[in-house]
Structure formats: C-alpha cells, structure tokens
C-alpha cells in the first residue's frame, strides 16, 4: 500500500494506482479530456495536470502513478492556466465548425442545417416545428444574415435558406408540437469552433455530402415559392457544416468549462479539412481529432477495420484503413469508436 496526500487529505492506495484514481477515492474531481475509463491512458491532452509539491513537478493525473509520500495539489492558478492553455492549443489545431455559420448568424438561432436535412428527408412537419417558437417576422427583419455566411456561397450560391423557411411556413403540414428532435438539439454549450475561410481544396470535401448538380433552385411558382420537390432539391444543397457531435463533444464541453478561446494561439498553416466517409459505418474528420488514441485501441487487432496515426509531430493524423466488406462485427466496432471518440472526429453519418 502507498500513502500519499491529495489536497491535504491522506489516502492509502494499492500499488500502480494513478493519481486520478486516488483522487476519486477522496471524491476529488480532476478534469480529464483524453482519458477514458476502460482504456489505457494516452496522456496527450494535459487537461488533467496536477502539482506534486515535493518534487515541484507537474504531471498528468490520468497516468502518473502514486508514489509513497507524494503531496498532490489539484487546483491552483498555474494548473488552471495550464489546463486552459492545453485546451486552447488543441483548439488552435482544430478545424471545424461546432455550429454551422448560418445558424450562428441567425438572430433566432434556428438550427438551419438540421432543418435542411429534415426537409431533404421529406420530414416536413418535424422541420416545421423548428419555427414554432420563433416569431413570424424574424426573417423579414434580419436581412439574410444566414445566407451571407452560408459556406455553400464559396462554391456557387448560398443555400436559399429564407425560401426554405418560407416554404415551411406556407406548407400545410402540421408541425409536430411535442418532438424529440427539437429538444435533443437544445444544448447549453456556448463555445463555437470556427475555422475561418474555406479553402479551394476543401470544397470537394464539403460537396461529398451535398447535391452539386445545380447552383440554386428557383421556384417555378414565383408567388408561392418552392414546391415540395423543389424544397427537397434545394435543401439537398446544404453541406452539413455543423458538427455531428456538437451536443456531446468533450472538447467543446472543456472549452466551455475553461472559457477557452480558439484564437489564443495562432499557428501558421492549418491543416486542410477532410471528410472521409466509410458508408454506412461512419464519417471521419481527422482535423477534429485530439489524438487520444482510443479508436486505435478499440480497433487494434482488426485487420479489416482499424485506425492508426500517420506521421508524427504536428503532422500526425488519424487514419482509417478498412476493407470494403462490412460485417456485423465491423458495425459494432465502428459503433464503439463513434461512442468513445471524445470529439466529432468519428461520428455516425446520420
């Protein structure tokens, strides 16, 4: 048994216990990001750093082992700054939008990308429910803020958001008053990752999930607006800029917790955004990866479907290798990765 002190409280633990576990015994909570229970710690995010007073060393609690006589402090200004900066450094190499620019710009904060997806799936009534809490005249006063920032604009024309909203208002479908979708997307998270301008070679990545045959649908009926078919067609142009995990992303949660800013550290040459689809299993967005290595641990013995890091240093990137065949066991592996990936780097396509 090893005896040590954490925040002036004594604790006795078995050998090979981490400081994180020892703290837990005392009911002391240390923030973590890359560490996940049931997996071996990679200690890459440094959000869990604690201070060992005797040696003056700062160590990651998730993997540092308890040593007899340690005197650990889990909270002090220096640690707070280190934790916050660790998150801010992660954010400075993080390329993606938590919330789509359109939604972000909308004064009513309508979840436009989701609305578009529902329209394209012909779930008009659910889509309409998005508008139920919003005053009718919002759009008439806001001067198309959403379309001004729509990322589709970089490729051809912005998605005709206002027309789609008008279409929903005009359609005689009833809005589902009580609906799960609406509630599920209500998140309290405030932090928003945003990567700035879309680059030339990122366009094709975005178009992987959008219709690209035409620039913008013009309604045949100019007075009444889109028909259902036209609305579906137009909604299909939306590129799913919002992050698929924006309601549950641990990085976003941490960023909120530490009030982190994305542009504290500005680094030359950000990496290009890529979206790698392995339908129907998952979509991988390596630029949202925080290098926790959990997906690698999950898939490490599979020859048909496995993740690995490529390169090292700042260039390091998560990569997926897979064979074309899809089996039940692969589906469950993929699900596990989606579930455990702490960010939107690995997510379910739908």
């Amino acid at each position: 048994m090893i005896e040590l002190t954490i925040n002036n409280k004594q604790v006795r633990v078995e050998e090979n216990t981490t400081i994180l576990n020892a703290a837990e015994i005392l009911g002391i909570k240390i923030p973590t990001l890359c560490f996940m229970k049931c997996f071996s710690a990679s200690s890459s995010c440094m959000v869990c750093v604690v201070f060992e007073k005797n040696s003056g060393k700062i160590v990651p609690a998730c993997s540092a082992l308890c040593i007899e006589g340690m005197n650990i402090e889990t909270e002090n200004d220096e640690l707070h700054l280190l934790r916050k900066n660790a998150v801010q450094l992660l954010l400075s190499e993080h390329n993606g939008d938590c919330i789509a620019p359109c939604q972000n710009a909308c004064p009513a904060h309508i979840n436009i990308p989701l609305m578009n997806r529902l329209i394209s799936d012909e779930q008009f009534s659910t889509a309409k429910s998005f508008l139920s809490e919003i005053k009718n005249d919002v759009c008439s006063t806001c001067n198309l803020q959403c379309e001004k920032v729509c990322r589709r604009k970089n490729i051809d024309e912005p998605v005709a958001i206002k027309k789609l909203i008008e279409f929903l208002r005009n359609t005689n479908e009833k809005s589902t008053s009580e609906n799960a979708v609406l509630n599920s997307v209500k998140s309290n998270l405030k932090f928003n990752s945003s990567y700035g301008r879309m680059r030339e070679n990122e366009k094709s990545e975005y178009l992987k999930e959008a219709e690209n045959k035409y620039a913008r649908m013009f309604p045949a009926d100019t007075t009444n607006g889109y028909s259902k078919e036209e609305a579906v067609q137009e909604a299909l142009r939306c590129m799913h800029c919002d992050c698929r995990k924006n309601d549950a992303c641990d990085l976003r949660i941490m960023a909120d917790q530490f009030q982190a800013k994305q542009r504290t550290f500005v680094i030359e040459n950000r990496q290009n955004i890529t979206k790698i689809f392995h339908a129907p299993l998952l979509v991988l967005e390596p630029q949202k990866c925080i290098k926790c290595g959990v997906c690698i641990q999950i898939t490490n013995s599979s020859k048909d479907f496995s993740f690995s890091f490529r390169e090292k240093s700042f260039q390091v990137q998560i990569e997926l290798f897979h064979k074309e065949e899809i089996s039940d066991s692969l589906i469950s592996l993929a699900k596990k990765c989606i579930e455990h990936c702490p960010t939107g780097a690995i997510s379910a396509i739908k």
Binding site: S63, N85, A86, E93, E268, S306, F309, K312, F321
Partner: protein
C-alpha cells in the same frame, strides 16, 4: 524477385512475438527497394498478426522509411548544427536548384538522385558536409555542386571490406597509423590509405599499416602517424595522396633516396607538419611540444577514449594487450555483484545520455529486480544534430563498450544485451557486428565467460531514424514494434522495460567509462571533476572554431578553456559570441559567461544542459534567433506528436520565431514567446518537450537586445533573409564572377564596371558573396537604425 514469404518467415522465426520484428522487416524491405512497396506491406499483413494500420503507423513515424520509390542515389545534405552555422541551407537550396526540384519533389526527373536533409553526418569539423550514397564530401560550397556530382558518378564505391583486407606484414619495428574514423574517411583518408598501399607496392617497402579509429584531432585529418621502436616519430596532418610517396621515402627508403627527400624538406622540422606545401597557411608545422597542439591534447583526459588513435578498433588481441577485458575478468572472477555496484556508486559516474542520473544507483535498482529475464540496452541512438561522440566511440572502441555492458549485465544479473544504434551509423553498426563476431569466436559471448556461470548474449537493433527514440521509453516502444512514443515514468525501464521485463538503459559513453573505473578504482575517478560531477565528458567540438574534433575533458573545465585552449579560439578572426551546448535540449551560453564550468549543475543553472555533448561555437556572424529557430525546428519536427504542449505548443513557438525573423513581430510577442516557452516546459510529458524551449529561453535571457533589434526590423548578425539584402560596393572591379554564378540572373553587369544587384530577382543564395574575389559583395540590413 525474392520470395518474400520466405523472408517474412525468417523474421517470424527470430521472435516469438510478431510485433517485435516490425522495424527490422521494414528495414529489410526498404534496403532492398529503397522504399516500401504497398503490395509487400499487404503481404506482411496477410502472413502475420500485424495489421496494415500498424505497419503504416510505424513506417510513417520513422524517417528511414519512404512510401514512394527513390532515385538511384541518395544525396544527404547535412543540416546538423555545425553544418547549419556554416551555411548548410544554402547548400541544400543549391542542390535543389541543381536537380531542378520543386517544393514537393525530392527526386530528380531522371530518378538518379534523391535529395534528403539529415542531421549530422558525424564529420562536423568538415562542415558543411554532404554524403552521396557512401561517399562523404566536406567543406561543400554551393559552386562545387556540379563538380561533386561528377566526381561521385566517376568514383567507384569503396566499402569497408576492402579497407579491412590490407594488413601488410610487419618487417621492421615500425608502424604507420592512419585514422579511419568517419571524419577521416570523409576527408579522404581512404584515398590516402590506397595511395599508401600503392606506394609501398611500387617502392617495395613493407611496413605495418594500422587503421585506427578517430584520433580526435578531426580538424587535422587525414592524419598519418609513424611509429618506430614504440615511439611516434612523426605525425602528418591533412595528408593528401600525393604526399604519401615523399613521406614514405623519407622514413623508410634507402639512404640515397632518403637524402634527396631530406633536402627537399630541409626547412621543415620533423615532428609534425602539414605536407600541403601549396598553402602558406598550412606550411606552418605543428609540433607536439608546440603550444597549440599541446593545448589541444593537454587539457584532455582520456577515459572513455583511452588509447585513442592507437587502437585498431577491431583488433581484439590488441585490445586485450592494452588491459582490455581486464576489468570484466576481475568482475566476473573476483568481485561480488554488490562490490561492482558500490564501486560505480562511489565513482560518482552519472549517465552521459543527457539526464545525468547516477549510474551506480540505477544499477543497484536494476540488480534488485526479480524476473526470469532482464535486459541491458546500450543507447546508441545519438540524435542530437550536432553531436557524434557516441558514433566515434562505437567506431573506435567497440570492445570497450561491450566490456562496459557486460560488467553491467553481470552486476545486474542480466544475460541479454541489446545495442540500439541509429541506422544512419553504418560504419558503427558494421564495426560492432564484427566486434561481436570476434568475441563469439573467442568464447566471450554466447559461452560461459572466463569459466564462470555467466553467459552473455548481445544483439544489435538498428533504430529507424527518430530523435525521440533516444528517450528510453520511446526506444523500448520502438523495439517492441511500436511508434516511438514515450510514456510517463514511473514505471521506469529498470522496473518495467522491454517486453515488460526489467531493463537497464545506459548511454554508450557511460558504458565506455566503466572498464576504466573498475581498473583504476572509484577514488581515482572521483578525484577528477567537481563535487557533484565526476570524471570526464566527451564533447563534439565544432562550429566557428579553429580546431574542432572529439575531445574528452575533465568535469569542471571552463567553457573558455575549451574554446580558447583546446579549440584554439574562433577561426577567421571573428569575435566569439556564444557556445551552444547540449544540442536541442541545451542552450546558448554567451561569451561573457565563458568562465562557466562544465558540470551538470552550473550548466543547468545557466539555462543550458550537459545534454549529450554537442558543443557548437558561435561567432558574431551567427544570429541567435536563427539558432533558436534552428533547434526548435528540429525538436518540433521530431516531437512524437503525442502530448499537446509539445505537438502544438512548439509549433506556436515556431510561428512566433518566424514572425521575429521576418521582422513582423511586436514587443508583446516576446512576452508571449517567453510565457508559452515556460508552459511547454511544464506541460510536456517527456524530456523532449520539457527541454525544447531551452534554446529559446537562453537566447531570450542572454541576447534580448538582439530579439528587440529584430522587432525593429534589424538582424544584427545579418543572417535573417527577410531582413537583409545583398549589395555590391564600389570596390567591385567588374570581374563578372558574381553575375556568372548567380542562379537567379539577378546581377546586372557590364565588364569592368561596378555590378549591380536587382533586388527583386535576388533569391539571397549567398553565392555572389562567396565568389567575389575582392569582397565587394556584402549583406546589409534593408532597414537602417
């Protein structure tokens, strides 16, 4: 085409665990094809338990491997520290232009040459150095490149084998020694060796020629020493093949010829002279009794490099005759394990790999571990871009290193040793392999040693090119077939190392010091040095110094003594500015602090580090921001990429330094740089990240005014490209030389009139300045104070 199934099976047989041979098998493929063909990677996956992901993860981590075919020949431009300060990037750029490569290419259209940057070819005294396949070129100037490429294409490639074969019978009591360390070879000692053989053939002289390892005086290579009746009667420095005949005749030929030579050499004293008669600078003869030769040697103490320049590296009998293996024998036959460890503890020996952990204590911890298998690893992954001590030790004293390892193994109760050597160190690998084979033949390895129960087994593992694998936990990870990512300690390798077994990791130099300590006793060793730093340290002395080389100095010597006495001060009449000590983890110590002593404590207090032993001397023409940027670029690129402070933090630091060197930084950026540097030190997981900010922090501390000058747009050393321009002054004689050599056609010229540089075309390649015979070309800050 080979049968790859067979190859894979061969590897499978060697190790019970598939993962253990990932790196060796990739190396075998890479050696065969010069790259890793994808089909073969799939083949491995099909036949073993290794997944394709693992292969890609590992292969992409190490710089030795490539995924695309390379050219027929590999050009390695050294961008190590010593070469960097002597303009290696200009040389690299010139090769790029010569081979017509664009930014993304590394191989020319004809697929003849692939161009690569490497850190330290280990002949820093010949900087800038370039290696094409096996041939090394020193002092490479940009304008020499076409000539070098031609020379290479004409040369037949010599290999170690034909160097080895020549052992003439000793007919007299004389001996000619020629150094065949990497520096020596690079400066042409093989040619000298061949000329020697030829001259002896034609003149019918038969003297024993002995190839010895690094002599240490790398600034004087090729070096030839002549010994008669056990005494060195003459030493020739910077010998050229054409000098051989006169030298030979002088000492060994018939009297009539001898006379002739003597007259022609009348005015030269006998002991030690430069035979290069053309150069007046070199005409000056050197005498061992003369002050500066004396200084170079006198302040040194040879322990790890004992008998340097005398031992034939691979002659085991000679090693034995010079007390070799006496320490080992004493340990195995007469000393208890505890006594050995006590001796090492008392000697005060600390690890020479950088961190300086007390060696005896580590051995004691190791010997206490109970396990069915324990390993000894000799860490020879020397990756500091300006250091080559370990390589020299491996090349010159293979038996001594093995002896040290075996003593450690015996004392620690281990029987299996692994020598982890950088794959780039081909000569070292070859010598160690031969040395092991010799010892197997002698019944010292793989057999009971000195009739005891102790049977030692030793293998070589070639590292695949990743600086971080010098860190012990990363080193072990790479041996287990993983990406070389460190993990937090504890558990220390001593407790939980290779394959989960107790593993003792020590540095080459640490092991090389052990036999001496055992033979001479701990007290004598502990009397050398300071209170907390005992014994000696080997340094690779290079940079802007008159006499560079491999030196072994007692702890406690001052920087000044090293630079001025041993190194002979700054070359070229410039002013001494600083020493960069400890490589990428170390720092810059300014000339004003040159009384600082070399010991663990005072170097750390000064913000630097003992590190591995790179010692690069800087003069006034070196810009500290350029140096800080150079090292940070290195560590940043070599970060394993695991923890965020090292992976991203150093990248951010680099962004700030780039801002500085391009004159775009503001005063706040300095504070920002300092703040983030301190945080990277605290928040990184392993020694690489924890020490990466040192070069930045020390330069910030000692040369803040220079940083501030850059903020106002001025580079005092005129090094930062964005801040300077090339100008031609009125002393130009209009010789058109610069214009002819300018790769950008940026020089307007009319013969016999002052030339003029068109700034918008100039690519700042420095050639005009180098070729101008009158010194009319100069660098000027674009902005003036």
């Amino acid at each position: 085409m080979k049968n790859y199934t067979q190859l894979i099976n061969e590897f499978k047989k060697k190790s019970e665990n598939d993962k253990g041979y990932i790196i060796p098998i990739l190396q075998a493929i890479q050696n065969e094809f010069n790259y890793l063909p994808d089909e073969l990677l799939h083949e491995i996956t099909a036949q073993t338990t290794i997944t394709y992901s693992e292969l890609i993860g590992v292969a992409s981590f190490y710089s030795q491997f490539r995924f695309t075919p390379s050219g027929k020949h590999l050009i390695k431009v050294c961008v190590g520290t010593a070469c960097h300060v002597k303009g290696a990037m200009h040389v690299y750029d010139a090769f790029t232009r010569h081979l017509n490569l664009n930014e993304t290419e590394d191989t020319d259209k004809e697929k003849l040459f692939t161009l690569k940057q490497v850190a330290c070819l280990g002949c820093c005294t010949l900087a800038p150095a370039v290696q094409i396949d096996d041939i090394t070129y020193g002092h490479v100037g940009q304008k020499d490149i076409p000539e070098i490429i031609n020379d290479f294409l004409n040369k037949s490639i010599t290999s170690e084998k034909n160097i080895q074969k020549h052992h003439l019978k000793n007919i007299s009591d004389a001996e000619i020694r020629i150094g065949l360390g990497s520096c020596c070879v690079a400066s042409g000692s093989e040619e000298v060796n061949k000329a020697l053989e030829k001259a002896m053939d034609t003149a019918g002289i038969n003297v024993k020629v002995k190839q010895v390892g690094c002599v240490g005086m790398c600034h004087n290579v090729p070096l030839l020493e002549i010994e008669k009746s056990g005494k060195i009667i003459a030493s020739y420095a910077k010998v050229k093949p054409e000098n051989i005949k006169p030298i030979l005749l002088k000492h060994f030929a018939s009297s009539s010829v001898f006379k002739r030579i003597v007259t022609s050499l009348q005015n030269k004293a006998e002991q030690f002279y430069y035979p290069d008669l053309q150069s007046t600078a070199l005409k000056k003869f050197l005498d061992y009794r003369e002050k500066h030769v004396n200084d170079f040697l006198q302040k040194q103490v040879h322990i790890a490099t004992e008998h340097k320049g005398i031992l034939n590296p691979l002659d085991i009998d000679e090693y034995i005759s010079k007390e070799g293996f006496a320490a080992l024998k004493n340990c195995v036959t007469e000393t208890s394990r505890e006594e050995i460890i006590t001796t090492i503890i008392k000697s005060g020996l600390r690890g020479r790999g950088g961190a300086g952990f007390p060696t005896g204590e580590k051995w004691a911890l190791f010997s206490k571990q109970q396990a069915d298998e324990k390993y000894i690893i000799c860490n020879a992954d020397e990756g500091d871009p300006g250091a080559f001590m370990d390589r020299m030790l491996l090349e010159s004293f293979p038996y001594r290193i093995i002896e040290g390892m075996m003593i450690a193994a015996y004392a620690g109760g281990a029987t299996k040793g692994i020598l982890y050597v950088r794959a780039e160190y081909q000569l070292a690998v070859l010598r160690m392999k031969t040395a092991i084979a010799e010892m197997v033949k002698k019944g010292m390895i793989n057999s009971p040693l000195f009739n005891s129960q102790f049977i030692f087994n030793l293998e070589i593992f070639e590292g695949a090119g990743a600086f971080i694998c010098g860190e012990e936990t990363a080193l072990i990870a790479s041996m287990e077939g993983k990406r070389g990512m460190p993990h937090i300690r504890p558990p220390y390798p001593v407790q939980h190392g290779l394959n989960g077994k107790p593993t003792l990791v020590n540095n080459v130099e640490t092991f090389a010091s052990v036999p001496w300590i055992i033979r001479n006793g701990s007290t004598i060793y502990a009397n050398i040095g300071t209170t907390f730093s005992k014994g000696t340290k080997v340094f690779a002395l290079a940079g802007k110094i008159a006499r560079g080389g491999l030196i072994e100095v007692p702890m406690g010597i001052t920087i000044k003594e090293i630079v001025e006495d041993i190194g002979g001060g700054i070359s070229g009449g410039k002013v001494f500015k600083a020493v960069q000590i400890g490589g990428p983890s170390g720092g810059c110590i300014p000339a004003s602090l040159s009384e600082t002593t070399i010991d663990y404590q005072s170097l750390t207090e000064a913000g630097a580090m003992m590190g591995s032993g790179g010692l690069v001397v800087l003069d006034e023409s070196d810009c500290v921001i350029d140096i800080a940027k150079y090292f940070l670029n290195f560590t940043q690129a070599q970060s394993c990429g695991k923890c965020v402070y090292c992976r991203v933090g150093t990248k951010y630091m680099l962004s700030l330094l780039n801002k500085l060197s391009s004159g775009k930084a503001k005063m706040e950026d300095l504070q920002e740089l300092e703040k983030i540097s301190l945080q990277v030190k605290k928040g990184s997981l392993c020694g690489l990240g924890k020490s990466a900010p040192n070069p930045v922090l020390t330069t910030l501390k000692y040369f803040r005014d220079e940083y501030e000058a850059h903020i106002s747009g001025i580079c005092p050393a005129k090094k930062c490209k964005d801040l300077i321009q090339y100008e031609i002054s009125t002393i130009c004689i209009g010789c058109t030389k610069c214009a002819q050599n300018c790769p950008a056609e940026a020089i307007d010229f009319a013969p016999y009139e002052k030339h003029f540089i068109k700034q918008e075309l100039c690519i700042k390649c420095d050639i005009c300045l180098q070729v101008c015979p009158t010194g009319a070309v100069s660098k000027q800050n674009i902005k003036h104070d």
